[in-house]
């Protein structure tokens, strides 16, 4: 019961801040709502006994990525944003279209059935989950882990290569 209330709270805030995020004129506001959203998603993760992920969510997403966004947003003059239209001219149609997608997905999802899982905390105590995670990550998912590192490298190289001031 309590869980449900907590979940409801998180869900409401998440959806609210999402909607705010995509409707703000000023991207900086959007970024801030995004921050809010991430926090609450982290909360949902906690609710699902994924404390480690919650942490990652906060540190990487909120801490790193969003801040990066913030920098760039500020780097490029955004005051233009205030004057000009925020959405392209079809936005009402697209909103309706969005509702269609939502309806369809949720319809299909609800009509569907998932393998009966029972909502109980994982057998290993909180925190121990992290070790399990680590073990899997470095044994079973070794290759993907390495690949992920390469991806980051590519991102790095790419970003530097593209964005660094042009010589000559």
């Amino acid at each position: 019961m309590l869980n449900q209330i907590v979940f409801a709270y998180f869900a409401v805030v998440i959806l609210f801040s999402a909607i705010m995020m995509i409707t703000r004129k000023n991207p900086i506001h959007s970024v801030l709502f995004m921050l809010l959203l991430f926090f609450h998603i982290a909360g949902v993760f906690v609710l699902l006994n994924a404390e480690f992920l919650a942490a990652v969510q906060l540190i990487v997403y909120a801490g790193a990525i969003l801040i990066l966004y913030l920098f760039v947003v500020m780097l490029l003059q955004v005051d233009r944003e205030v004057k000009s239209a925020r959405a392209n001219r079809f936005w009402p149609w697209l909103a309706v279209f969005g509702l269609m997608i939502a309806a369809e997905i949720s319809l299909l999802v609800l009509r569907g059935s998932f393998p009966a899982g029972n909502d109980q905390t994982m057998r290993m105590a909180a925190g121990a989950g992290v070790r399990e995670l680590g073990m899997d990550l470095y044994t079973k998912y070794l290759v993907p882990f390495e690949v992920a590192s390469v991806i980051l490298l590519v991102g790095l190289v790419g970003a530097v290569m593209l964005a660094k001031k042009t010589e000559n």
Binding site: A18, A50, A148, G155
Partner: protein, 100 residues
């Protein structure tokens, strides 16, 4: 007890909001963040499932998703900076020399 379907529904709606954002907003940053919304929707799914399935794969998947998102964001922002530099364009609908 929170039924699984609630999480799924939440993620579905979040996903949709992301889609709408991608489709409607002119500001490229917000478009990018909307995509992040969609990713997060997927993440919620993954974590929820992994919880209900008593299986960690979902969580691991999420870690990778976040990593990728970071790299993607880096490249994206680099390109945006280039465009802003070369053409002063930060609006998605300003990227339309190429068409036809």
């Amino acid at each position: 007890m929170v039924p699984l379907s609630w999480y799924v529904l939440l993620s579905a709606v979040l996903f949709t909001i992301g889609v709408v954002g991608v489709l409607t907003r002119r500001n490229v940053f917000i478009v990018l963040m909307s995509i992040e919304l969609m990713l997060n929707a997927a993440n919620i799914n993954l974590v929820a499932f992994s919880h209900y399935l008593q299986d960690l794969t979902g969580q691991i998947f999420v870690i990778f998703v976040i990593t990728v998102a970071a790299a993607e964001a880096a490249v994206a922002l680099a390109l945006i900076i280039l465009l802003a530099r070369n053409r002063g364009a930060v609006y998605v609908d300003e990227f339309n020399i190429l068409k036809g």
